[in-house]
């Protein structure tokens, strides 16, 4: 009797897309931290990182007012008017219309909305698609969807891809970001395989994204590297350029610069802009502003000089 085996299905997929040398990846990314980026290169990196931030609030306690102030911060991150606006704000679907009202229709800051029963993705497909359509109708420019990890780990790759395709259709003109939720995929091999499954059905310019930010393990240099290399290999095979968004756990400027070094050394300059690379983060922006101010004034800055101070004194 023939029995469906998730292990066998995964193995066939690994054989097809290639597996990952985990030790090699970990050693490679450990080297990124040793690059010395100073002065004008650092300034360029910090400013570029600001333009790549998807300023995120995904809390049960989000209010229209909180989203409106997030939008103001996205447009004008700091007193210093020379600091550019961020790439996008990232909110729950119910907050999209409030964000649209705050940003207006001609804003350079885009509105990204998580959808498809974020963060678990455990809802009927019909419900998930309806959520996507509602968010787009409310004015979302970008949709961050989660893949069906249960189906992926059960070896039902066709179902995973069909669901992503259905969401692509539901997005219309909106950009799609496919969240793999790497912490639930467990191995670098699975992350690479899931990246390929997603890249084969999304459009050029759509994103693959590491995590929801709602689990213990978020974006790391290692899983970022695995996905960047998947994007590189897919681009070399097909000529289709897929964008990348690490999310969660990137809090310091130093980390952000190290991620940019990974992008530069893996994919090159063509990916060093906010149509090809984003950071899903909330506290990162404040640290970027803090370091930019340090570069400008020469004095180390106290964190409470910036909004959303994380501490009382």
């Amino acid at each position: 009797m023939l029995v469906r085996s998730p292990q066998a299905a995964l193995q066939r997929l690994f054989d097809e897309v290639g597996s990952v040398d985990q030790i090699g990846i970990d050693e490679r990314v450990a080297k990124y931290g040793t690059r010395s980026v100073k002065k004008s290169a650092k300034l360029w990196g910090l400013r570029t990182a600001v333009t790549m931030v998807d300023l995120t609030t995904l809390e049960g306690k989000d209010t229209p007012g909180k989203v409106a102030s997030l939008c103001q911060k996205a447009l004008r991150p700091h007193d210093d008017a020379s600091i550019p606006p961020v790439a996008a704000v990232c909110v729950y679907p119910s907050m999209v219309r409030h964000a649209r009202r705050a940003l207006g229709n001609n804003s350079s800051v885009r509105i990204a909305s998580v959808a498809t029963a974020f963060p678990s993705g455990q809802a009927p497909l019909k419900t998930r698609l309806a959520e996507v359509k509602a968010a787009v109708a409310d004015g979302a420019d970008e949709i961050d969807m989660v893949i069906n990890r249960g189906a992926f780990l059960a070896g039902e790759f066709g179902r995973v891809q069909d669901e992503i395709s259905a969401v692509v259709t539901a997005c219309g003109t909106a950009t799609l970001k496919v969240i793999l939720e790497v912490s639930e995929l467990e191995t670098y091999d699975s992350i690479r395989a899931a990246s390929f499954l997603a890249m084969r059905v999304i459009r050029p310019g759509d994103f693959i994204k590491t995590s929801t930010g709602k689990t213990s393990l978020n974006a790391t240099l290692g899983n970022n590297q695995v996905m960047l290399e998947a994007i590189r290999d897919f681009y070399l095979d097909t000529g289709v350029a897929i964008a990348m968004k690490p999310a969660g756990g990137i809090r310091t400027s130093k980390q952000a610069l190290t991620f940019l070094i990974a992008v530069k050394e893996t994919l090159g300059d063509a990916w060093l802009n906010n149509t090809r690379y984003r950071f899903g983060a909330s506290s990162l922006l404040n640290d970027l502003l803090r370091q930019l101010e340090k570069e400008k004034t020469g004095a180390y800055q106290a964190p409470y000089y910036f909004s959303e101070a994380a501490e009382s004194y």
Partner: protein
């Protein structure tokens, strides 16, 4: 068979951990006879920045401790030094101090800590107040710790002077980033080891060693430091005053040119605690 000598690598105590300088630089320390003693970490402005981050993390927790608990912990720190008094005195004699004078300095440093341990739950009664007002309100003035205090210790009295500057600041719940004596840094290295076993939370006192010229500009301009308590010369005073004006921080600057008796009881007191607290005055309606 002769044993191989086990030499100690001196490390500085920052954020509750013993670290080398991020620059990996060291400078040689010689004893009074001019013989090599050890390599001391030559900390940089980035070590100072990291120490300030550590102090910021420890600050709210330390300030929230009860005054009584802070007193107990300061007392325990004194106990830890007392227990290793001989070792500490030997460290002080490296700089040429006589053994009896070194022992006297250790005893005075311990006594100074005990003195401030007693003040932790008493300075508020002295510095705070209920103010008379011409309306049906209570009007209270209470103190709050300022936050992170920069300390720059003089070269003389390498233990007693350092403790005399640090102790009043942490008594009220501040955290400290201190630069130890450049010519006699070893007592501060030992003090770090005693701090580590004193129940004082990591990050409340952070000790750096190195050269003043490399760190004073950063002490002056770092906006997260709320006050500077230092023994410095004229040029350093000017640099600190200019930077402090820019970043609006308080300066308590003693002149390095003047001779001062660190053993004197005039150098300790509630005034030194007042130097690093902020006053908050609140109005509260009188109940029926």
């Amino acid at each position: 068979m002769a044993r191989l000598p086990i030499t100690k690598t001196p490390k500085v105590y920052v954020g509750g951990a013993f670290i080398r300088s991020e620059s990996a630089r060291v400078f040689p320390l010689r004893d009074a006879a001019g013989d090599f003693f050890a390599n001391i970490p030559q900390c940089t402005r980035k070590d100072l920045r990291n120490a300030v981050e550590a102090a910021a993390k420890a600050g709210p927790g330390w300030a929230k401790r009860t005054a009584y608990n802070r007193g107990q912990i300061l007392y325990r720190l004194a106990e830890m030094i007392e227990a290793r008094a001989g070792e500490m005195a030997a460290a002080i004699t490296l700089g040429g101090t006589t053994p009896s004078a070194a022992a006297r300095e250790v005893a005075a440093a311990v006594d100074r800590l005990i003195y401030y341990a007693g003040w932790t739950d008493k300075y508020e009664q002295v510095l705070g107040n209920v103010n008379p007002v011409a309306a049906p309100y209570f009007n209270f003035t209470v103190t709050e710790p300022m936050g992170i205090i920069g300390v720059i210790a003089p070269d003389e009295a390498p233990l007693l002077a350092l403790i005399s500057l640090i102790a009043p600041a942490i008594t009220s719940g501040n955290t400290v980033v201190a630069l130890a004596s450049t010519t006699q840094p070893y007592p501060a290295i030992l003090l770090g080891e005693m701090l580590a076993t004193s129940d004082l939370p990591g990050g409340v006192v952070n000790l750096l060693t190195g050269f003043r010229a490399e760190m004073i500009p950063t002490f002056a301009t770092h906006t997260h430091l709320r006050a500077i308590s230092a023994v410095v010369n004229a040029a350093e005073r000017k640099a600190l005053a200019l930077g402090a004006a820019e970043s609006v921080k308080r300066t308590i600057l003693l002149k390095a040119e003047e001779k001062r008796d660190w053993f004197a009881s005039a150098l300790q007191g509630v005034d030194a605690i007042r130097d690093t607290v902020e006053f908050k005055t609140t109005w509260h309606p009188v109940g029926a």
